[in-house]
């Protein structure tokens, strides 16, 4: 079992190298902090109230109030008042509809229901004039949204790339390890998928599936497994003829055991690098998906769905939601990319 020790020591060495790399180490902590934030968001510990309308529509950021546009947003009360006025002018009834009690089959029931409606009356809440990071169209707190969005976007990125890696590794492993007919079939599959533009696959897959986080993850996995496949196929091809795999064969280890217990740990460092590259790519990919209308559903929030609101907001002068998301996203993505670089260096067996 020298190989396992070998791979373990590579990890240990990598960890030692990473700790010496200041940029890498700082990046690691930052990514870790984001992961914690994402977990807290997913568990509902942070920003669970992001859907509450706590402020006036497009309330500006507290400190940068003066940088917001001057126009006033209309409220439902304005509209109600205007409608009342026009009803009066037109001679429409001021309450209810033009139907008399005889004409409305529900008139009696409604009258009865109005006696019990008290329990459902909600006290009007005071809406804030400003918020730390401003508010969106519905007066939701942009900071809360971006925190919750961090959770979703990271979940999507991490799960999407994990799924793509698993898919790519299994297929690449089988292709590289077994070769021959299986490899031919998988290679055929691979070349078909790489020959079809991603965008078409994306549009097609999204059309069948329901909107939501799981769909986004699935679509991402289905369109981005090919890189890992190519990489793993080459590695398994290389490793299957190595001594330690032959030794495992000699002691009677099954094919699957040889593939996933013996070879896989030795190539896992490549997977880690691939995983972090993909995660970053998918976090950015989610933005484009959302813009094209294939993002998460209305009860969920992601960075992409926030940025999809940006074009309409910017022409009105509301820049804060875009700025806020861009800030969060660039911190995470920069840290993640830096970490990837450091990991690549730290885990590279060629560098002694």
């Amino acid at each position: 079992m020298a190989n396992e020790k070998g791979s373990r020591s590579l990890w240990a060495l990598g960890w030692k190298r990473l700790r010496k790399d200041h940029i890498g180490f700082v990046s690691l902590w930052m990514v870790a902090a984001f992961v914690l934030l994402a977990l807290a968001g997913a568990l509902g510990l942070v920003a669970s109230g992001w859907r509450n309308e706590v402020a006036k529509p497009y309330a500006p950021p507290t400190l940068l109030k003066s940088l917001g546009p001057k126009h006033v947003q209309l409220t439902a009360e304005n509209i109600d008042a205007a409608n009342k006025a026009s009803e009066q002018a037109n001679g429409q009834p001021s309450t209810g509809t033009s139907l008399t009690a005889d004409e409305d089959p529900l008139a009696g029931d409604l009258a009865e229901a109005s006696k019990n409606e008290g329990q459902y009356q909600e006290a009007a809440t005071q809406k804030a004039e400003t918020l730390p990071m401003g508010a969106d169209l519905r007066g939701r707190d942009v900071l809360q949204k971006v925190l919750k969005g961090t959770s979703t976007s990271m979940l999507v990125g991490l799960m999407g790339s994990l799924a793509a890696i698993v898919l790519g590794t299994i297929m690449g492993g089988f292709g590289g390890y077994f070769g021959q007919k299986i490899d031919d079939l998988l290679m055929w599959f691979y070349s078909v998928f790489t020959s079809v533009p991603d965008m078409l696959l994306l549009l097609a897959f999204s059309a069948v599936l329901r909107r939501g986080i799981s769909t986004v993850i699935l679509v991402m996995a289905l369109t981005s497994w090919t890189g890992t496949f190519r990489l793993m196929r080459a590695e398994f091809l290389k490793h299957k003829s190595r001594e330690y795999v032959k030794a495992a064969d000699a002691i009677g280890a099954s094919h699957l055991r040889r593939m996933f217990v013996h070879i896989l740990p030795n190539v896992s460092y490549l997977l880690l690098v691939q995983f972090s590259i993909l995660t970053v790519a998918l976090i950015k990919y989610e933005v484009i998906l959302s813009f094209l209308g294939f993002g998460v559903s209305v009860t969920q929030i992601s960075w992409g769905s926030m940025l999809a609101e940006a074009p309409a907001e910017l022409i009105q002068g509301y820049w804060w939601q875009m700025a806020c998301v861009t800030l969060f996203m660039s911190i995470l993505v920069t840290a993640f990319s830096m970490l990837t670089d450091s990991l690549r260096d730290a885990l590279d067996p060629k560098v002694k």
């Binding site: 529509p57 546009p69 126009h71 947003q73 209309l74 409220t75 439902a76 009360e77 304005n78 509209i79 109600d80 205007a82 409608n83 026009s86 009803e87 037109n90 001679g91 429409q92 009834p93 309450t95 209810g96 509809t97 033009s98 139907l99 004409e103 409305d104 089959p105 529900l106 029931d109 409604l110 009865e112 229901a113 109005s114 006696k115 019990n116 409606e117 008290g118 329990q119 459902y120 009356q121 909600e122 169209l137 519905r138 329901r210 909107r211 094209l292 209308g293 294939f294 559903s297 209305v298 009860t299 769905s305 999809a308 609101e309 074009p311 309409a312 910017l314 022409i315 009105q316 002068g317």
Partner: protein
């Protein structure tokens, strides 16, 4: 030599003034559509964008007065409005002489005059089973002998040469249409762009691709077409002499328009370039940078472009910053209703029983319509309270049909009918089965904004809602197969008469335009009687009764009617928007 040249120039000038060509080819109008067109065969199109081009290339018999409001029909290629028989069934049109088609190789180098036979041919094309006209519903079953001719054709081309009693020419310039039933909307219908005259030679010569070869008698011809991106129109040199000579309406801007345009030979603008810009930000910025001459204000830009009075949001004026630049601003209520329908055949939301009605009513009461008018429409919409919008014959401004927003009472109503809350806090059906409603929606950013408010409505009732996201044609298919539960739609007037709206809930239209599959015997009876009446108090009474049925049974949740805000650059002269005609390019001028 000199003299000769002069004489030639003078002769040319006479020739030009003779056929009335005065357009300045250096005047180029830039406009944009926000969705792609499909083509320019009048019989094959139904979208607004294609119609906007088609109405400039082809001439229907009748058209609208540019300035008159409420809208008024006027003769277009006819000498006068048609003579209509007493029973309202026989329409006779006398064409003007000397109207010519734009030149085309199919005419063999000769000038081709517009004759009555062209209109007969063009209308018959809408019946042709091989053309599958999207507007065939306007002509099917309408003309004497029409159905028989269509039946005879089966799946093949209509026999255009066979005599047809309902559509015939009395002489070279006289067209007579005979209807099976009295119909008071026929003149409106015939003014639609799809009833423009095509020339049979051109259609037959380009049979494989009629969409790309529009040749008509209208003010413009299609110079260039890049599908989905660009259309260029140029003034038609063969266009008849047409002089701006409209009487002012009550509108204040008319005086200025008449001053700028009176006596001018139309069209003034030589070239119209139409591009497709789907996104709102670029459209709006392009207008501000004068890359577009006329543009609607996209909804997100309304707050910035206008000063909207919070006390009366429907009274909005142009932001002084733009008014100072001389930008012209016009607004009018669209002749449309938006609504969300319930599928009345559905086992959860449909049905006549009181508990189902209570569920529909509760949802209607929980939808925060005023909030959507404030946030999405920016006040530029008014609530729908009657199935027929303002400006359309039969509208009743005194009627109030929309359920009042009252989520608390809606909850109490659901309690009363046994939609109890389960252990998880969400409501179940009275029979104890779980309650979840599926709402159909598109996938654009604007759809998502609306869904936010629907989500809010359902959340306030503690009813689960799920979204069925699909492309328009997919949802349309499922809707017509009665597979959807709820879907929000808009219906714009094809012609300004109430019948075009009241038909949306007529039982026999279920599976077609009656998406709600609403089948109410009383409504249907009233609708059938209303068809036999002209616009007037007698018909209005029937319409009121029908609206009451709709309010009581709640197959629809009434939405809003948008107010469209359109801007034009200072140098656009004579500009006025028309509620029915899509484009007014032929009536305007550019003076930079």
């Amino acid at each position: 030599m000199r003299k000769g040249q002069f004489a030639l120039a003078a002769l040319t000038a006479i020739l030009i003034s003779g056929n009335g060509f005065a357009a300045d080819m250096n005047k180029v109008l830039h406009v944009a559509f926000n969705a792609p067109e499909t083509g320019f065969d009048p019989a094959k199109i139904s979208d607004q964008y294609s119609s906007s081009i088609v109405e400039n290339i082809f001439d229907p018999l009748i058209t609208y007065d540019y300035l008159a409001r409420p809208v008024k029909l006027i003769p277009n290629t006819t000498e006068a409005m048609p003579t209509i028989s007493k029973d309202g069934k026989v329409y006779t049109f006398h064409l003007k002489h000397g109207i010519y088609f734009a030149d085309d190789p199919a005419f063999g180098g000769k000038k081709r005059e517009l004759v009555a036979e062209d209109y007969a041919y063009s209308i018959k094309r809408l019946l042709d089973p091989t053309i599958n006209s999207p507007y065939s519903f306007l002509v099917n079953g309408r003309f004497v002998g029409g159905d028989e001719l269509v039946a005879k054709a089966g799946k093949n081309t209509l026999d255009y040469n066979a005599p047809l009693e309902g559509i015939k020419t009395l002489d070279k310039y006289t067209l007579q249409l005979t209807l099976k039933e009295t119909n008071f909307n026929m003149t409106y219908i015939l003014s639609m762009p799809v009833f423009g005259a095509v020339a049979r030679e051109v259609i037959e010569a380009n049979a494989a691709n009629t969409m790309a070869h529009p040749v008509g008698t209208g003010p413009y011809l299609l110079k260039e077409w890049k599908p989905g991106t660009k259309m260029v129109l140029e003034a038609n040199p063969n266009y008849r002499k047409d002089v701006f000579n409209f009487a002012p309406s009550k509108d204040a801007i008319d005086a200025g328009i008449i001053k700028a345009m009176k006596g001018k030979t139309l069209p003034c603008i030589g070239r119209v370039e139409v591009s497709i810009i789907e996104e709102e930000q670029p459209t709006w910025l392009a207008f501000l940078e004068k890359q577009l001459d006329i543009s609607g204000i996209p909804q997100p830009a309304l707050q910035e472009a206008l000063v909207i009075d919070p006390k009366d949001p429907t009274k909005a004026t142009l932001n002084p910053k733009y008014a100072k630049m001389g930008i012209q601003h016009q607004r009018y209520k669209l002749q449309e209703v938006t609504y969300t329908y319930f599928n009345m055949d559905d086992s959860v939301v449909g049905g006549d029983s009181k508990e189902k009605l209570a569920l529909r009513r509760a949802i209607a009461m929980a939808f925060p319509r005023s909030e959507t008018i404030a946030a999405i429409r920016r006040g530029q919409a008014v609530p729908v309270n009657y199935m027929i919008p303002e400006g359309v014959g039969g509208h009743n401004p005194n009627f109030k049909g929309a359920a009042e927003y009252d989520p608390a009472k809606a909850n109490a109503l659901l309690d009363k009918f046994g939609y109890k809350k389960g252990a998880d806090g969400w409501r179940v059906q009275p029979n104890g089965k779980p309650l979840s409603i599926e709402y159909a929606t598109g996938s654009a950013a604007i759809d998502k904004q609306w869904n936010e408010y629907w989500q809010k409505a359902f959340d306030s009732l503690k009813i689960h809602v799920t979204w069925k996201v699909g492309k328009w044609n997919e949802l349309d298919k499922e809707a017509r197969q009665s597979k959807l539960q709820m879907w929000g739609l808009a219906w714009g007037a094809d012609y300004p008469d109430g019948d075009n709206f009241m038909m949306l809930l007529y039982g026999k239209n279920a599976g077609d335009v009656n998406y709600a599959n609403f089948k109410n015997a009383e409504y249907d009876k009233l609708f059938e009687s209303s068809l036999k009446l002209p616009d007037g108090p007698e018909r209005n009474k029937l319409y009121d009764q029908m609206n009451k049925i709709v309010v009581a049974q709640q197959p629809w949740i009434f939405g809003d009617t948008r107010v469209r805000n359109t801007l034009a650059q200072p140098y656009v002269k004579g500009f006025k928007i028309h509620p029915i005609v899509n484009t007014t390019w032929r009536y305007i001028d550019l003076q930079k």
